[in-house]
């Protein structure tokens, strides 16, 4: 059966991976290639790399892909500033499997169709950035959250699907870096409007946030950015928590935390002394393939 995915989102700003807070403040993390390599080792199922630099300071996305793709043995999607089919071709040729479009969904939806005709619908992800307006209703935004789309997120998602997008990435702007969990109402609203798979992003602060979203209809990918940085094995631990909650996950890393218990905030609890005593002589050998 198809497994739920943990998707690692790497935001790149002027060539450096950053953590983002509310689409406004940024903390440097490190080199893109190293971030990709670490996520690969720590049990991630897919990587989405988004270049959020200002248009003047943006590197070519295909050049970025060339640098990181050799370190990536899981699927890789890339976005940020894609406006033409030739750019899609270059980005895919340089090692990305799929591309992420956001502003083009509003300004040039034909690009989705052209991309899907040439590379297949499964290669085009439409990213919908949204937050609640003053009246409490959700509004969609483009240009990195700076420009109103004057559409509801559900309308924008439907527009993307109608033009041929194969997947919708929902990003809750107001939850970016908030660690308070996904905006589940927003996800449910968009998921009802479309029939393609949904990936959710924005707000993860504990593995239990993944569990809440994994149970919503249509959600096929659980994405996180900041949450996966700086700590080893966050994806693997999250998968163990999801598995315990009854959600089918891919657990292929040798350390899968299957038999562990977790605290309320999703941290590993110490194992009993007797168990630790027994484990002393287990030796894991690197497999040579």
């Amino acid at each position: 059966m198809l497994k739920q995915r943990i998707v690692g989102v790497l935001l790149v700003r002027e060539g450096i991976v950053v953590q983002s807070l509310g689409f406004q403040r940024y903390l440097p993390v490190g080199k893109p290639a190293i971030a990709v390599e670490h996520l690969n080792r720590w049990g991630i199922d897919e990587i989405v790399m988004l270049d959020i630099s200002s248009p003047q300071a943006r590197l070519r996305l295909d050049v970025l892909m060339e640098r990181v793709a050799p370190y990536c043995l899981v699927p890789l999607a890339a976005g940020g500033g894609i406006r033409t089919v030739d750019q899609i071709r270059d980005v895919i040729k340089s090692g990305a499997d799929r591309v992420v479009l956001n502003t083009a969904v509003l300004d040039d939806p034909k690009l989705i169709t052209q991309g899907a005709d040439r590379f297949g619908a499964q290669a085009i992800i439409a990213s919908i950035d949204a937050k609640p307006g003053d009246d409490g209703r959700y509004e969609a935004f483009v240009d990195g959250g700076r420009r109103r789309a004057h559409l509801t997120p559900a309308e924008m998602a439907k527009r993307a699907e109608d033009h041929g997008a194969g997947e919708i990435l929902i990003q809750a702007i107001h939850r970016d870096g908030a660690k308070s969990g996904y905006d589940l109402d927003l996800v449910a609203e968009i998921s009802k409007a479309v029939s393609v798979p949904i990936v959710v992003l924005g707000g993860v602060g504990s593995p239990f946030h993944f569990v809440e979203a994994a149970r919503l209809p249509g959600v096929c990918g659980l994405a996180a950015g900041n949450y996966l940085h700086f700590t080893e094995h966050t994806a693997t631990v999250a998968k163990a928590v999801l598995k315990k909650a009854g959600i089918a996950m891919r657990q292929d890393s040798y350390a899968d935390y299957r038999d562990f218990s977790f605290s309320e905030d999703g941290r590993l609890l110490k194992r009993s002394d007797a168990e630790l005593e027994d484990m002393l002589f287990i030796h894991y050998v690197d497999e040579v393939i």
Partner: protein, 219 residues
Amino acid sequence: MSVQSRNVCIIDYGMGNLSSVASALASLGCAAVSSADTVRIAQADGLILPGVGAFGEAMSRIHALGLIKVLERRVLGDKIPFLGICLGMQLLGRDSTEGGLHQGLGWIDASVDRIPADVSIRVPHIGWNEVAWTVESPLNGNLEQNGHFYFNHSYCMQAPNEVITAVTDVGKPLVAAVRRGNIWGVQFHPEKSQNNGRRLLRNFLNAIPILSPEAQTAC
């Protein structure tokens, strides 16, 4: 004979993420060439046809590059190992209904259709799914049953039972791998399936026979 000296060519027909396949092979110590040059393809001892894209577009590019003759000579005539990945597998079929009816290579008696509507997942089929091997072959001999591989497709192959070597479950079984003699096809992406994928690619490299001395000097 080490893997390094196996002369593998990844067919570059302007569709798809060639560099992913090349870097997965490189991680196994095999320096494959990516090329659309008929001479390079004719020299290779193993061919990989990757693919991300639409069926019709892919076939017209293969025709436009004049690759049909050399592929048929090497794969059907000389029977060198051939691996089609994702779209590369679908192209092995007779025809596809993706964006109108298009003819494929016709090496395997199969057709390609949209994933049926009565599956239990949202289409496209994107993500990690379990692969159940139904026949043992050099490609999967040492792979665990129901291991995870990465799928990313909206169309699937309808093939006769005798060529199917693996299926995956999406509420109903979909063809995950096919084989006809030296021709293998996989619907999933081994180059993006971490260690399971590397094992499969290693098996493919091992299926390439040891080179003759003349061929070695050629590469």
